[in-house]
């Protein structure tokens, strides 16, 4: 929130943000960009779910298999056919194979950052990380750009995410649940719902008391960003805490047990169901994280555990969203920070490999049931033109009707486009 105001009472951005580029240039600039930015609004999506496979999931053994490659590349697993002719995925994905028409696989997605932290930042912000700038995560951009109901947090992370509001500020950071729900167990989220055994009547009574003791600054409240901000958040917090909607959205106990069962009980499975409930209640962006994909050794045992979890979670998520009429309005994306080395290492694992990775996208009015892009015959890099993480992020934001050429300003006054280099993937946008 800007602290800089003067006599007209209007909020003024820090002077640096006003821009030293000369008024006429800025205008020309703006017009030119507006012209170039005339992307057809395909904004069917109103919300997004981001499934983050932390650690860097192998592409070779999941969505970009190479059965023709030598054994030290292709590994132990085999591809199976799906309900989309010509689209093959890993044999450990039988449920996904039956609904492949509901998602699209991007192959040959490529970048050069082989460290977890940097790769994650790249994928989660859509901008290649720079030391001088903390880019906002996609969820923060979405919660800044799209309005959400006052009693729902717009951006929720289950259980948390390494990316926050970046230079946009804390208020656009995620609301972190700090816990993952498990099937059949009660689930609590920090600060949501009635805590400490209080009833709604008690909360209301306290609220009235608070209002009666909080009057000292009344005469200057309207003129102070801090004071009016605190008031705003106070109202929102009360709405969220006392709202039935927020409380019930987080309460998985209210879910139909048969639906809960469909999701199963792996690390992230019930979190996906929580995501559906939150989106249903008005949240804009939900990030799920499962962080055990860093398979430098013993990859087969570990995939035996992880792949069925992904199979069940994603297929149940797509089915449930569709059943509730939310699939068209909810963009789903699933990926990690990079792929893994196409050639198996001596410890029976695969190492970090950002040159080729996969992204799965679904819903949000995107064209599904297709494979876009390709990696080369051994999965070492893009076969033709690479898809950049910037393009993936731009596509996701475009489905939500967000113009990625829009400019923000960092707190040092530097103007930054939401995505400088990203181009929407036209084959995905219907």
């Amino acid at each position: 929130m800007s602290q800089h105001r003067f006599c007209d009472g209007l909020k003024r951005r820090d002077f640096l943000k006003v821009g030293a580029l000369g008024a006429s240039l800025t205008l020309t600039d703006y017009l030119r960009l507006a012209k170039a930015g005339e992307v057809k609004s395909t904004a069917k999506a109103k919300a997004a779910i981001y499934i983050r496979l932390g650690g860097g999931p192998t592409h070779m053994d999941t969505f970009d298999m190479k059965p023709e490659a030598p054994v030290e590349y292709r590994g132990n697993l085999k591809p199976i056919k799906t309900n989309v002719p010509g689209m093959e995925i890993c044999e450990k994905f039988p449920l996904l194979a039956k609904c492949a028409d509901k998602f699209t696989i991007l192959r040959g997605v490529s970048h050069t950052l082989a460290a977890h932290e940097l790769g994650s930042k790249y994928l989660l912000t859509g901008n290649r990380p720079l030391p001088s700038i903390e880019f906002p995560s996609l969820g923060s951009i979405v919660s800044k750009e799209l309005a959400s109901p006052p009693d729902m947090p717009p951006f929720v992370a289950v259980p948390n995410t390494p990316q926050g509001g970046g230079f946009l500020g804390l208020q656009y950071g995620p609301f972190s649940t700090n816990a993952q729900p498990k099937q059949g167990q009660p689930f609590n989220v920090r600060g949501i719902g009635l805590q400490g055994g209080m009833t709604l009547t008690e909360v209301n009574r306290r609220e009235q008391l608070l209002a009666s003791v909080d009057n000292t600054f009344r005469s200057i409240e309207a003129k102070s960003d801090v004071l009016s901000g605190l008031d705003e958040f106070s109202e929102q917090a009360f709405a969220m805490i006392s709202s039935k909607r927020a409380r019930e959205a987080f309460d998985l106990g209210r879910e139909d047990p048969s639906v809960a069962k469909r999701f199963g009980d792996g690390e992230v499975n019930q979190s996906a169901l929580l995501a559906v409930r939150l989106i249903e209640a008005g949240a804009r962006f939900v990030t799920l994280t499962t962080g055990s994909w860093d398979m430098h050794n013993d990859i087969w045992t570990r995939l035996d555990k992880n792949l069925p979890m992904v199979d069940q979670t994603l297929s149940a998520l797509l089915m449930t969203l569709e059943e509730r009429g939310l699939l068209e309005s909810t963009a789903v994306i699933m990926t990690g920070e990079f792929g893994r080395t196409p050639k198996l290492n001596q410890r029976g694992g695969r190492d970090h490999w950002p040159r080729a990775m996969f992204v799965v996208m679904a819903g949000g009015g995107m064209k599904t049931g297709q494979v876009i892009g390709a990696s080369d015959d051994k999965g070492q890099g893009p076969a033709n033109e690479a898809i950049a993480p910037d393009d993936v992020a731009t596509t996701l934001l475009t489905t939500l009707g967000i113009d990625t050429r829009k400019e923000y300003h960092t707190n040092t006054g530097r103007p930054i486009m939401i995505s400088r280099d990203g181009k929407p993937i036209s084959k995905l946008l219907g």
């Binding site: 007209d8 009472g9 030119r32 804390l170 306290r206 008391l209």
Partner: protein, 915 residues
């Protein structure tokens, strides 16, 4: 009608001794002969003059928008043509325009040159950037004449260099909106040429609500207030003060407000000019709360409030300031503040320093802040730090010394070391560039990031300046001093370090374990490499060659340094910081401290002292900086000078003239408490007597304002509340890492987090004590003897458990993973802390037992008073008391009533802001 001030302004770019900002020197000399502006000289088609690329063509292209960020100044260029951003790289731009594969000029047929044809074409789509000029304009002619002359490059050896720039008028006081002023800009060159460059400048307003400026340098007054309009040309950046008084109470019409101190006088002088009437001095209650929170980061106790209000002495405020400055909390809090700026973070030292480095760093600083060691001396201990404590100490001795600090059993005192090397050993300080950025941020308050890649858009710094400044740091290195000895030590310690078998984390944890038990292990060290010209420096030579740079270190805006003359190139740098006329060192610190007390700096943002970002009150900053130097950088002098002024002690209540003022210090501005302070305030407001005493005695370990675990522990222990309230990560060189902005999550935390509920009702907390006898409280042991027995049992259990875990760890030695080992160590640390806490509580209970029961408030009114004193540092008003009493009456029972009241008070704006 308006008053204007004509004076010369030196743009101090290449001047040998740099005066900060635009030093104003009055001159009676009218410049001998000023060349008329290019717009006039190139008006006529018959002009014979050959324009210069540096002086005319590139500035003009900048003015036309060509080298802007969105056009050819973008890092990818535009349409295959790239210019340097803001046009200050004459060589590259010359290459791009004249020498590239598709040259933008055609010397044989000048009119067909792309930079002329495309930019003046009427055909749509001919030029992506549209039409920029007319064919018969002076602009077209200027560029065309340059091409006709063969498009000459800049000859660095022969061409005159930019000396300074003057802008007239230097200050404008408007009377009403709509008035306009034409700025005149004159540039001086080293050959004596003086040229009117007004049509070649860029102009910018710092606040378009006060004044706007057009491309031609015509300022139009828009609204009330004060700001700066800045002119940019070549390397010059000159701000012009522009103001429109807020009221008619200016000059002699200004009310008589006494100036108690020099600070007050300087602030009032400015307020008089702009017709802003200062607010009255605040109440004693407000003063006590504000000063306690700002100086010590701690809320006053109820007893302290009562005593201060009862004190009738006229000097009680000044006496309180002295007392606050002598408290342990002052040292704890300001060590934390300094640590923010210096970037003390264990996480950044993971690979280069022992596991206690973050703690050592804090303690080293803390000792000096507590002893009020002067600022320049503290900085010297960091800037000139090396790891070995004497020149003849060998590597083995060094490792032995380091082990002595790390061992658990009677560790040696790290704070006694003369220097503290960890600042330079952080992960984000590896390269010279990173060191230069961090150094200029921390000690100069200057952001150089822009100049790493292009000319700074708001300041004088070019890439050249940046590269030469980084040369100071090329020889500052860290690493293992002697590999052979390191190997021997590792073998002796019996630690497996084969990277094929164990990971780095495990190696570090194992070495750390050995060191903690007193075994000598190898340590990384910070040292200064010999200068590259030194004979037989085989290793050095290859490094220099690889880096491909042979640069002369040059202080920012100042002299070149002969590297070889110094064993440590940081010595001349430190000398430069200490020079009386250093334009940044004292100012940066003074400004940051001011920003702490006033919410905004005199230069704001406080860590961005660029030329275009002019101070809101230059005289005030000049005075404080000069006096700070005069007082030998005495930090407590500075604090007193600020806190004892009426300016600091003004009320937050505003009048019609100052209600929107946020930059001229005419009233107090309510601001959210910093993360640590807000957390501590909640803890203190709800704490029992013994806990309050413990916190006051040792805030370093017992309060969030002290040594925070998240900076001194490797296990990423993060306090949820502190994170939510915006505690900085200390990873990037920017004051903006700390966020004092409110957020939804913060409010949800204060209102509805389990931790808050537990805190309010915690055992031995204030509520627990006062509600013990009230109806509605579940009966529990209020018998101090029983409580004492319980605590003692808890302590015994804790000790037992620690013993078991330690035994288990010993048994599994070598088998546990690195993570597991770290977890155990962290647990051990936590258990030890908890045990210390319990011991303190037991001691407190014992002494309380001796003194008999604590005095407890008796009546409802007393309870309410106490709650207000603890949270708001004041008694409730009559109405507030009545409201609270009424609530208590209707509450289910008195215990619930007072609990609700405390909850409500903690959730008010009054509690969470300093005001």
């Amino acid at each position: 009608m308006r008053r204007t001030h004509f004076a010369l302004v030196a743009a101090c770019c290449l001047a040998p001794s740099l005066a900060f900002g635009a030093a104003i020197e009055k001159s009676s000399d009218v410049p001998a002969k000023v060349l008329p502006p290019a717009s006039i000289r190139f008006e006529s088609p018959d002009v014979k003059e050959v324009p210069s690329l540096q002086r005319h063509v590139l500035p003009l292209m900048g003015r036309l928008g060509c080298s802007g960020r969105a056009c050819h100044g973008s890092f990818q260029g535009q349409g295959g043509f790239r210019l340097s951003l803001f046009g200050y790289d004459f060589k590259t731009d010359f290459e791009a325009i004249v020498k590239s594969e598709t040259p933008r000029v055609d010397v044989k047929k000048p009119a067909e040159s792309m930079i002329l044809a495309k930019t003046s074409s009427d055909v749509e789509d001919e030029h992506g950037g549209g039409k920029r000029m007319e064919k018969n304009s002076w602009q077209y002619r200027l560029i065309s004449k340059w091409i006709e002359a063969g498009a000459p490059a800049v000859d660095e050896a022969k061409d005159p260099t930019f000396v300074k720039m003057e802008v007239r008028p230097t200050e404008i006081e408007y009377v009403k909106p709509g008035e306009t002023t034409q700025l005149h800009v004159v540039a001086h060159w080293s050959d004596g040429t003086i040229e009117d460059v007004t049509p070649l400048c860029r102009f910018q307003t710092n606040d378009d609500a006060v004044a706007k400026v057009d491309v031609n340098g015509v300022i139009t007054c828009v609204g009330k207030g004060d700001t700066h309009v800045v002119a940019f040309y070549d390397n010059g950046v000159v701000p012009v003060a522009v103001m429109l008084p807020v009221s008619d109470q200016v000059g002699p019409k200004y009310p008589n407000i006494p100036a108690k101190t020099k600070v007050d006088e300087l602030v009032l002088t400015k307020l008089k000019k702009i017709g802003v009437v200062a607010s009255d001095v605040c109440t004693d209650e407000e003063f006590l709360r504000r000063a306690s929170l700002d100086v010590t980061g701690v809320l006053p106790t109820a007893d302290e409030v009562r005593a201060f209000l009862a004190d009738k002495s006229p000097n009680k405020r000044a006496a309180k300031v002295d007392e606050l400055l002598s408290r342990p909390a002052y040292a704890a809090w300001w060590t934390t503040k300094l640590s923010d700026i210096l970037g003390n973070s264990e996480n950044q030292l993971r690979n280069s320093a022992p596991a206690k480095a973050g703690t050592h760093w804090y303690e080293w600083l803390h000792r000096r802040v507590a002893d009020n060691v002067h600022y320049d001396d503290i900085v010297e201990g960091i800037v000139l730090a090396v790891s070995r404590t004497s020149p003849d100490q060998d590597y083995l001795e060094y490792c032995q010394e380091m082990t002595s600090y790390v061992r658990d059993d009677k560790p040696a005192d790290f704070t006694a070391r003369e220097t503290m090397p960890y600042y330079w050993m952080r992960r984000n300080m590896r390269t010279s560039n990173e060191k230069a950025l961090s150094f200029s941020y921390a000690f100069l308050g200057v952001r150089l990031q822009c100049a790493e890649c292009h000319k700074h858009p708001f300041d004088q710094w070019s890439q050249y300046d940046f590269q030469h400044f980084t040369a100071f740091f090329d020889r500052i290195t860290s690493g293992t001093g002697d590999r052979e000895i390191a190997k021997e030590l590792i073998a002796k310690a019996g630690v497996e370090t084969d990277p094929k078998k164990v990971g780095g984390a495990k190696i570090r944890a194992d070495l750390d374990r050995v060191a903690r038990s007193g075994g000598v292990v190898p340590f990384s060290e910070l040292y200064v490499r010999a200068p590259k010209a030194a004979p037989k420096g085989k290793k050095d030579k290859s490094k220099v060659a690889a880096a491909g740079r042979v640069l002369t270190p040059k202080v920012l805006g100042g002299d070149e340094i002969v590297d070889q003359n110094y064993d440590d190139p940081r010595e001349p740098l430190m000398d430069w910081l200490r020079q009386k006329d250093n334009p940044y060192f004292a100012r940066a610190f003074v400004n940051r401290v001011w920003a702490h007390y006033f919410n905004v700096g005199i230069v704001e943002p406080a860590d961005d002292m660029n030329l275009a970002n002019a101070p809101s009150n230059r005289e005030l900053l000049d005075y404080l900086a000069a006096q700070f130097v005069e007082h030998d950088y005495d930090i407590k002098w500075l604090m007193r000078e600020i806190v004892n002024s009426d300016t600091y002690q003004r009320s937050w209540l505003t009048n019609s003239t100052n209600e929107f003022d946020l930059r001229n210090f005419s009233h107090a501005v309510p601001r959210r408490l910093p993360a640590e302070v807000v957390y501590d305030a909640v803890v203190s407001a709800t704490a029992g007597q013994s806990e309050l005493a413990r916190r006051a005695q040792d805030p370093v370990t017992n309060c969030a304002i002290g040594m925070s675990l998240s900076y001194t522990n490797r296990n990423n222990i993060n306090n949820y509340a502190l994170t939510v309230f915006g505690k900085p990560k200390r990873e990037t060189p920017c004051d903006c890492e700390r966020s004092n902005e409110p957020s939804l999550l913060q409010t949800v935390y204060l209102r509805n987090d389990q931790e808050m509920f537990r805190m309010i009702e915690r055992p031995n907390g204030w509520l627990d004590a006062v509600t013990a006898d009230l109806p509605g409280t579940q009966k529990k042991s209020s018998d101090p003897a029983a409580e004492l027995r319980n605590k003692e049992r808890e302590l015994a259990r804790m000790k037992e458990r620690l013993k078991e875990e330690t035994a288990k760890a010993k048994k599994n030695k070598g088998k546990v993973t690195a993570n597991e080992a770290q977890r155990l160590l962290a647990m051990k640390d936590r258990a030890k802390e908890k045990m210390a806490e319990l011991e303190a509580e037991i001691a407190a209970l014992q002494s309380a037992g001796d003194q008999g029961k604590q005095a407890k408030p008796q009546s409802t009114a007393e309870l309410i008073n106490e709650a207000y004193l603890r949270t708001f540092t004041r008694y409730p008003t009559k109405d507030e008391l009545a409201t609270a009493e009424e609530y208590m009456k209707t509450a289910e029972n008195p215990a619930t009533g007072i609990r609700d009241l405390v909850w409500a008070l903690l959730n008010t704006k009054e509690f969470v802001v300093n005001h």
